[in-house]
Structure formats: C-alpha cells, structure tokens
Amino acid sequence: MAKVCAVLQQREGKIHRMAWETVAAAQQLAALSGEKASAVVLGSGIAALAGEVAALDLDSVRVIDHPLLADYTPGGYVAALAGWMALDAPSTVLFPHTYQTVEYMPRLALASGAGIIPEGLSFVAEGGEVIWKRPILEGKMHARVRARGTGPVLVSLQSGAFSADSRKAGQASVSAAEIDMQSATPWREILGVQQMGGETVDLTKAEIIVAIGRGIGGADKLGPVEELARLLKADIGASRPVIDSGWLPRDRQIGSSGQTVSPKLYMAFGISGAIQHLVGMKGSSCIVAINKDAGAPIFKIANYGIVGDLHEVIPAMVAALKQA
C-alpha cells in the first residue's frame, strides 16, 4: 500500500502549477521504498479534474467533493483532510508550499496527530530515514532535518524545488472519499477578494528592471537609482521591505506577493535574495547583483556580481554610461 501522498491544490477547477511539482516529489519519495505514491484532490464540483489526475503514475487518486469546500477555508480543508487521513492512513503527505498550505497545514497536523516539516527543498534517504533539507535564516543557510517519533508527517515543498516535468505519466484508479463534514466549521465568513494597492504599474513587460532592496537605506537615497534607470530606459522594481517601509508604492513589489517578471536584464541592488523575492524574478535572462555581503544568496542566481556598497557602485555605473 502506498503511503506517500500528494495533496493537489486547485482553485475553481484548475490544478495549481505547483501541484505537479508535488506529484513529482511524491513519486520520487515513494520510489525510495519501491512503492507508488497516491494523490488527493479536494473541492466542490471537481469531478472533471479526476481525469486529468488519473493520467499520472500513481497508485490511486482520492477525490473529496463537498459543497463546504467550494471556497478554501482553513476549517473546511482541515476537516476534509483530517477525515481522509483517518481513512487512508498515509505516512507522509506532501503539499505545495503555497500561502494556502502554510495557513492550514499546522492545524491539520494537530487534528491528525502528525508532525510538520515546512518548506522542504530536497530529501535523501540515510540509514532507513528520510532527511529533508529546508531553508533557515531567510535562505542564508540550510538545515538538515528529520521527523522524530511516530505518526504521519506533513511536508510542504518550496516552489521550484522539484521539477513538474519530471512527474511520470501513467494510470491511476480514482475513487471518492466520503468524509463526514458535519462538525466542520469554516472559522471565517468570506466577504470578497481584491487587488492590493491597485496595480497600476505593469512590470511584467519591462525589458530592463533596476530593483532595489532594503540595502538602499531610505526613500531619500532613490535619486541615483532613478538616474541609472533613466539612462538604461529601465523600470524600477523593489523587494518587499522597500514597499513595507513606504519608500516605493506597492505596485513596484516583485516576488511571491507581488509581480512575477522576466526581463532580459534584472539588476538587484541591496537585495539579499530571499526565496519570496527570487520566485518573482529568477526567470530573467541576465541577472546582476550588487551587494556588500559576498555571502548574500542573490549571488547564487546572478550572472554578474559586484561585492560592494551600492551607494558607490551606482554613481560609478552612471558615470560609465554617460561616458560611453
């Protein structure tokens, strides 16, 4: 019996991009013990999804279809998945590390007596144990962790940690899981969805982006950056702390909560390179990083880098551009 299971996130009948990464990881993890993984998908009126999921190399696919799951609520999802875990007794359940998963996974762990490993990057088998790697200290370091004790483990997987393309196609049996949702409380009454801070600047079509991070040090230091951007005909983007501090408006934010961009040139000044920022810009063709800390994670994905003070480097770049 397959005991590794992937939870497939969906919204309005569409499978989330990261769910395929979760499937690939589940297949690889199950293969360690010569087994096949399973999957579970939950929602309301999602029968059509089953076909899409059935074409994967999985032991079985469970479908939890219930009106209370029409909109995501932590209460509904925890009740449904705790019921399913009691039924199928998985040993490891994998999730995409989305904002949705992060919100309910710990509560599902309490409801099902499971442990949690948030934001897994990779795993290895060592001495009959699975060791996970996860980021700590905002991605500046990694920790190798294991699940001690007994009972199931819930692991959320960082975006891009496993390749969706590596998932294997096949044929899975699909069956409904009848879960008693009588005692489920949604814990919230949804009023609506809105755009944060009204998106007016579209950075997704920009060819060159000059992006600044907390290292810029204040709104009063923006002058040289603006001059550099003007000379390069670039748009200005920023990491989250710059927005949170009010130095630039929210529609300049790049990353998991902001815009996802892929210009031909992305220049990061004073940005450390936390994953929530990287997911929004790592598709850029050429990445340049300027940071005073040689160990900053941003250098790992950059094509060119200068280790130095941006307040000196930017004027020097402006001067070089003016000379040319």
Binding site: P106, M141, M317, A320
Partner: protein, 262 residues
C-alpha cells in the same frame, strides 16, 4: 480588549552568521539579536487596537535569558506586562512544541485576541501562530494585512494576503489568532518615558511545570521536527564577480558587449 502578542527574538538581519561547533545550529556567541520583524508589526497592531478599544497588551516570548531584552522593549513600546517562557526544557522546540507552550501560557490570561508574526526570520516555519490557534481551538488567519474591529468588538474584518498581489477579506469572530505580515503598519519607536516606565513593569517567568506541561511535551522532546545540522548553501557556479575600482565600468561594458542586454 485583552490582547496577547507573541514575540520572538531572532538574529539581527545584518548579523554575521557562523555555524556552531556542534554543527547543529548557528553560534550565538556575540550574535546581535532583535525582535522578529513581523512580531514588531504584530505588537504595533495590538497597541493600536488597545488604544482605540481600551484594554491591555501582554507580550509573550519563549527563549533563553537574552529574550528579556526583547520583552523589555515590548514593555517600553506600550505592553503592560510580559510573560517569559524561560526554561531549558523549552529549547529546540519545533512549531508544534513552541506553539503548545505559548498556547498554554496565553490560555491562563483569558485573552480576546492573539497576534503573532507570520514567520520567524530564523526557523521560518510560518506555523507557530497557527498551532496556538489550533490548541486554543480559535479561528485564525495567516499573512494578515488588515485588521478592523467591528462595532461591539465581537468580530474582526480581516484582510489576508494571497499570492500575486491579491488579498481576501473575511470576518472572524473573537477570540481569534491573527498572524500578521510585515507591511501592515509602521512600528513606533520607544519614547524615553516608555523606556523609563518599562523598568517598573512585570516580566513573569514561567516553566513547563507552571503551565501544566510535561517535559515530554515541550522543546525538542515535544517536537517531531529535529534539526540535525545547518550549513551555508554550496557555492553555485553562479556569478562572475567583478572587483576593483573599475568594477562598475567593467560591468557596464560586459552588459553591452558580452551579455548584449543594454
């Protein structure tokens, strides 16, 4: 309204990190610490609500002796009391063990609202506040970017951040746990008067036993997740690093002639 705020002390973002001798965590000697960024935002949100609605803010922190400094700061900023979960047994806890301890301490105070940060800058579990909610059996929300107390103070209108710049608005009834995201507000600075008055405020120390918890329920003993070792990520092939006085000019020239992107 009685509001609990969970505050974690974490290494300062600018701190030079080193691996500890045993390789299992970072070396804390001479490491500068600060209040976790989103926890400071949670404290500010709590103070603003208490100022408007009346009531008090109590700060909770689990950690070794150094954590007193963070609690002192919370008191200087306006919290009326602090509870320090201080005991060797609490050390090495995962989100479930730490959340269990915090929930037990908070339960004793009969609060209406718990505010936490959304994620700690060191462990980064993004889970401890949710565990607190789960154990108290209260509603919760993660990544909160807006809190509005409704007429009568029985419910809150909450804005939660979603991916790609969207947010969801919903109502939760009190008592509840909200895990706030940096950017919700701009935390205040401590005034001289605040710093002086903080010296007279109480920091109560509690152990697992005081909270009615067994040693096997807290710290590493009460955790499923165990850290085996920590390390810096392997150096990637990565960037061509340019150095020296001419680095900026060289970069411009390479972007023009080598990468051909400008």
């Amino acid at each position: 309204m009685k509001i609990a705020v969970c505050i974690k002390q974490v290494p300062d973002t600018e701190a030079r990190l080193r691996v500890a001798k045993d390789g299992r965590w970072i070396d804390e000697e001479d490491l500068p610490f600060a209040i976790n960024e989103s926890d400071e935002v949670a404290l500010e949100a709590a103070l603003q609500i208490a100022e408007k609605q009346g009531g008090e803010v109590i700060a909770f922190s689990l950690g070794p002796e150094r954590v007193r400094e963070a609690l002192r700061k919370a008191l200087a900023l306006g919290a009326s009391r602090a509870v320090h979960l201080r005991h060797e047994g609490f050390a090495g806890g995962d989100a479930i063990a730490t959340g269990r301890a915090l929930a037990a301490a908070i339960r004793r105070e009969e609060c209406d609202l718990v505010l936490t940060g959304s994620q700690s800058d060191d462990n980064g579990f993004g889970a401890t506040g949710t565990v607190v909610a789960g154990i108290l059996d209260w509603p919760h929300a993660w990544l909160v970017m807006g809190i509005e107390v409704e007429e009568g103070a029985r419910a809150l209108k909450v804005t939660r951040e979603m991916e790609s710049g969207l947010s969801e608005i919903f109502r939760v009834t009190l008592p509840a746990v909200l895990e706030v995201q940096a950017g919700l507000n701009h935390p205040r600075y401590a005034s001289l008067k605040g710093i002086m008055s903080a010296k007279k405020k109480e920091i109560a120390e509690v152990s697992p036993g005081d909270l009615g918890l067994a040693d096997s329920e807290v710290g590493l003993a009460g955790s499923r997740l165990e850290v085996l070792s920590v390390a810096f990520p392997e150096a990637a092939a990565g960037a061509q690093i340019l150095t020296g006085d001419g680095a900026a000019a060289e970069l411009i020239s390479k972007l023009k002639n080598e990468a051909r992107v400008i």
